[in-house]
């Protein structure tokens, strides 16, 4: 649960917009992630989730708006802002031609992690990768690659963690362990997480708050445990389907 709503946010997004020619991919999005909070970002395909994450990661320039990570303006001081951040995404596998340990070492140096060797050992153990340390990442199963991505994401003990479908390709048992691990990491109030997923069970189980994105806009926001009932849905999955259908109808009438 969030450590304190009055604490300074680890992520502050204000009036964020991104247009690709005539397409408004993200449209005036404003939200914050507090320390110790896991914020779910959900929505149908094309809703603008990954575009939003790419802007927070500094690999996509917003058309308008402002992003601050722990009070550091991303546009003004990109390197310092991103040093407090890390991410894992299924569409960004680590280089397959480096071994597990080599990947962690290279990215540990990029994030200038102190006592890197011991941090790598710790993460290999946490993510059950010790036996694969000398295996090239490209030879790992998709689940093992996901665990490696998460280990990389934890290297610098980020204050803001961006997870795009972090448990995709992982079996339910491992996914549960990983969710528990991330929740424990966040529980110390040190880190805030922005979590995207299409797995509503996972969002409900893990997230303190959820934002529904549709056509680049936030259309719903609230506690994933109470939000379905408040909108007359049986569960978060049904609510998601209802929102997605509305978005589809709206898209057709545009």
């Amino acid at each position: 649960m969030p450590a304190s709503s009055s604490a300074s946010p680890v992520l502050a997004v204000e009036h964020l917009c991104k247009s690709f020619n005539a397409l408004r991919a993200v449209d005036d999005v404003t939200f914050q992630v507090g320390p110790g909070e896991i914020l779910g970002l959900v929505g149908p395909n094309g809703a603008g989730k990954t575009t939003t994450i790419n802007m927070i990661l500094g690999v996509l320039e917003p058309t308008a708006g402002r992003i601050e990570i722990e009070g550091v303006d991303l546009e003004a001081d990109r390197s310092r802002a991103l040093a407090r951040t890390n991410f894992a995404a299924v569409y960004a596998p680590l280089p397959g031609n480096l071994t597990v340990e080599q990947n962690l070492r290279v990215f540990g140096m990029v994030y200038t992690v102190d006592e890197l060797s011991s941090r790598i050992e710790e993460l290999l153990k946490t993510y059950d990768l010790t036996r694969y340390r000398a295996t090239k990442a490209g030879l790992l199963s998709s689940g093992e690659q996901t665990r490696l991505g998460l280990a990389k994401a934890m290297l610098n003990r980020p204050r803001l963690l961006l997870l795009d479908e972090p448990t995709a390709s992982i079996d339910p048992s491992s996914a549960r362990d990983i969710r528990a691990g991330i929740a424990a990491f966040v529980d110390n109030g040190h880190c805030g997480v922005l979590w995207t997923s299409h797995n509503m069970f996972e969002v409900q189980a893990v997230c303190d708050r959820v934002l529904f994105l549709s056509h680049g806009k936030i259309v719903l926001e609230g506690d994933p445990k109470t939000l379905p009932e408040a909108h007359g849905a049986a569960n978060l999955d049904d609510l998601f389907v209802a929102v997605a259908h509305e978005a589809l109808q709206e898209g057709r009438t545009r």
Partner: protein, 267 residues
Amino acid sequence: MNLTRVAAIVLRQFFLMRGSPARVFPLFAWVAIDIVLWGFITRYLNSIAHAGFDFIPALLGAVLLWDFLTRVMQGVTLAFFEDVWSRNFLNFFATPLRISEYLAGLVVTSIATSLLGLLVMLALAEIAFGLSFFAYGIAIAPFVFVLFLSGIALGVFGSALVLRLGPASEWLIWPIPTFVSPFAGVFYPVSVLPLWMQAVSKILPPSYVFEGMRAVVSGEPPPWGALVIGAVLAAIYLALACATFAGVYRHAIRTGLIARYSAETVS
């Protein structure tokens, strides 16, 4: 500039080479073949030409220096292509890594790989054909330095092109030294070229190096003034190449190209 991050880029290349003989072999194999081939050609030319002119320093020396420039350029572009081929841009550029640190890492990698190639070429040229660059002493250093700057500039510019145009444009990059060589007067004096080609030569730093080298092997003093012009031109091109890369990178950030970089998505 954070040196640990620069070292990370270099270390990545070291890891790749350590685990892959296919990456190490070309560092010295092709240059060695060039030296052997041109070594025998020059030996043959010496045997049929009039006494008094030694083709070995004139031709073999030119091959050696031109191969060095090519190796420097390829050192940068190959290190860059490793990130293209493994689609690693999102992983690197969504980190605190600055573009200057990334480029510095590519350049340091190129220094290491091209020096390895240069040492092999120097050793082979001396042992097999009696061409000793060490005989020229420290005077050779400015020539190598200008070629080094030129190779880095070509490598950074080539990488910028591939970042802008996509991986499919890779084939545009490899022939760049071949396009430059006729104008650079690698094997002949620039004065034999038509006037329009001579005009192009004047803006190419390697042409000052090869003209200078020919003067030195003919027993004349090194043309320091011309070398300074070559060095200044090379520094300008390097600055322009880095600015081009930074401009292309900013374009890629504005359009989202970095996050979805592939042959199909580049436009």
